[in-house]
């Protein structure tokens, strides 16, 4: 069987068309595919739809984020759990474009977002969930009672591409995530037609315990080894500590 490993991040994102929909995994730093996002930024595709937890932030330490894609107006639509800062003093490029009506921003509760993606990856077109009932996000959606409780109908999300970061991958595309790295990665890998992976280490088939593999290789199309492709292994942490001095 042919190996799914490609030599560079450029090669991994080659062919991403203008107008593509793209799932970008990660929650905070862990599991964020910084190298694939940077390669997509260089690649030039535009008119994108981004589906992620958030896509607001840009960084000043040289690390490219989806915020840069938004800032340069390469994104026409986002589906996120965070479309604006929760701090009054901060504003993101996304928020400014959204207020100017230059981007379509759909906000969705994070659990609903995760379940919509999981449903997309599972061939389930729609499901009922209790989250958001009685709030703005449920307005205009179908409501129904089950067992005396009210739920809202939400539709699945599928996408053309998923950008994934993992700990170990084999050449067949079987993936293992380490700790909090897992987050959205396995469900996004399921929901995309073409799943692109940056791996901290690539091993031969047979080296990963089948019981430990979090994402079967049949969901994966291309794999890049971060060290071999010369990528960023760990981005510098942002302000991640709670502020209490600890020692």
């Amino acid at each position: 069987m042919e190996s799914k490993v490609v030599a560079s991040f450029e090669e991994a994102v080659a062919g991403v068309e203008d107008g593509s929909s793209i799932l970008v995994a990660g929650f905070g730093e862990p599991g964020s595919p910084h190298n694939l996002v940077a390669a997509l930024y260089e690649q030039g595709a535009t008119e994108l739809t981004l589906i992620a937890n958030g896509a607001g932030m840009t960084r000043d330490d040289g690390v490219i984020t989806t915020g840069n894609l938004v800032e340069e107006k390469r994104v026409r639509r986002v589906v996120l759990a965070f479309t604006a800062s929760t701090h009054p003093s901060r504003r993101t490029p996304l928020e400014e474009l959204n207020e100017a009506g230059e981007i379509e921003a759909q906000i969705t509760p994070q659990g609903t977002l995760a379940e919509r993606i999981r449903a997309g990856g599972a061939g389930i077109p729609a499901f009922f969930t209790p989250a958001g009932v009685g709030t703005e996000v449920a307005e205009g959606k179908e409501h129904r009672e089950f067992g005396g409780r009210t739920y809202v109908l939400e539709e699945a999300i599928v996408a053309d591409y998923a950008l994934i970061r993992c700990w170990k991958a084999d050449t067949f595309g079987n993936l293992v995530f380490r700790r909090s790295q897992r987050n959205f990665n396995p469900i996004m890998a399921m929901a995309a037609d073409c799943t692109l992976v940056e791996a901290e280490e690539v091993v031969e088939v047979g080296e990963l315990d089948p019981d430990l593999i979090h994402t079967p290789g049949i969901f994966v199309q291309r794999v890049v080894s971060i060290p071999e492709a010369g990528g960023i292994l760990q981005a510098p942490p942002l302000a991640m500590f709670s502020g209490r001095p600890r020692s």
Binding site: F27, G28, E29, A84, Q110, R179, R182, I187, M240
Partner: protein, 223 residues
């Protein structure tokens, strides 16, 4: 208000709320002040901290030396794992929430209402917002505790009869910790269970947008 009266510190608020957790509870801590609670679990109790990113069973916040890029809480801050920890993906993390396995979700808020409503996802006058996991947590957890400052930066009350901002969820809040005390939404008023040392009920009432009714056994906030 006596001159020496000081509002509670963030650590004190977090510690007081953490003292409410019972042994064996499954607890989710929201972004911001709530994530401090895992640093203040009373020693005689084991709390199972759950986070939206799929970490089940983390402990206190990590020091700079202890931190790894692999283990973070729902606020994306480095934390330590407990020996009974397990990891699931994002969808299963929310399955746990909706399934009703959380004893409590501790959330930050812009506004808390006497009828148990709260608002924490959109700032007044802004377009868009940050829902995060709050709407799932608010309807899934058995109880919702709020941890917030009693007033805005310009001194307006955050505890109100009814929320002005768009709701995160309706009628779910069971306990509210502020830098002025510990409150229970009671329908049309807030029941004041504990008060910050040095403040009077009248002080608190003046800074609150709904009637404040002191509990018969009102005491000072202590940890």
């Amino acid at each position: 208000m006596s001159v020496e009266a000081k509002r509670l510190t963030r650590d004190l608020m977090a510690a007081r709320l953490a003292a409410e957790f019972e042994d064996g509870w499954v607890v989710n801590l929201g972004v911001g002040m709530p994530t401090r609670c895992s640093d203040f679990v009373p020693e005689d109790r084991t709390i199972i901290f759950h986070s939206e990113n799929g970490v089940i069973g983390y402990g206190r916040n990590a020091t700079v030396e202890e931190a790894t890029p692999y283990v973070v809480n729902g606020g994306a801050q480095p934390v330590l794992l407990t020996p009974f920890a397990s990891i699931v993906h994002h969808s299963d993390a929310f399955a746990i929430i909706r399934r009703g396995l959380l004893d409590v979700a501790v959330l930050g808020a812009y506004e808390a209402a006497a009828n148990g409503d709260f608002a924490n996802w959109r700032i007044s006058g802004r377009k868009g917002g940050g829902i995060g996991g709050a709407m799932d947590l608010a309807v899934g957890a058995r109880q919702v505790f709020l941890l917030l400052e009693h007033t805005t930066r310009d001194g307006r009350p955050r505890l109100l009869e009814r929320c002005a901002l768009p709701l995160t969820a309706a009628g779910v809040v069971t306990l509210v910790m502020t830098d002025l005390g510990l409150f229970e939404p009671a329908g049309d008023s807030f029941r004041l269970r504990e008060i910050a040392p040095g403040f009077t009920v009248d002080d608190v009432q003046q800074l609150t947008g709904a009637p404040v009714v002191p509990a018969a056994d009102l005491s000072e906030v202590t940890v």
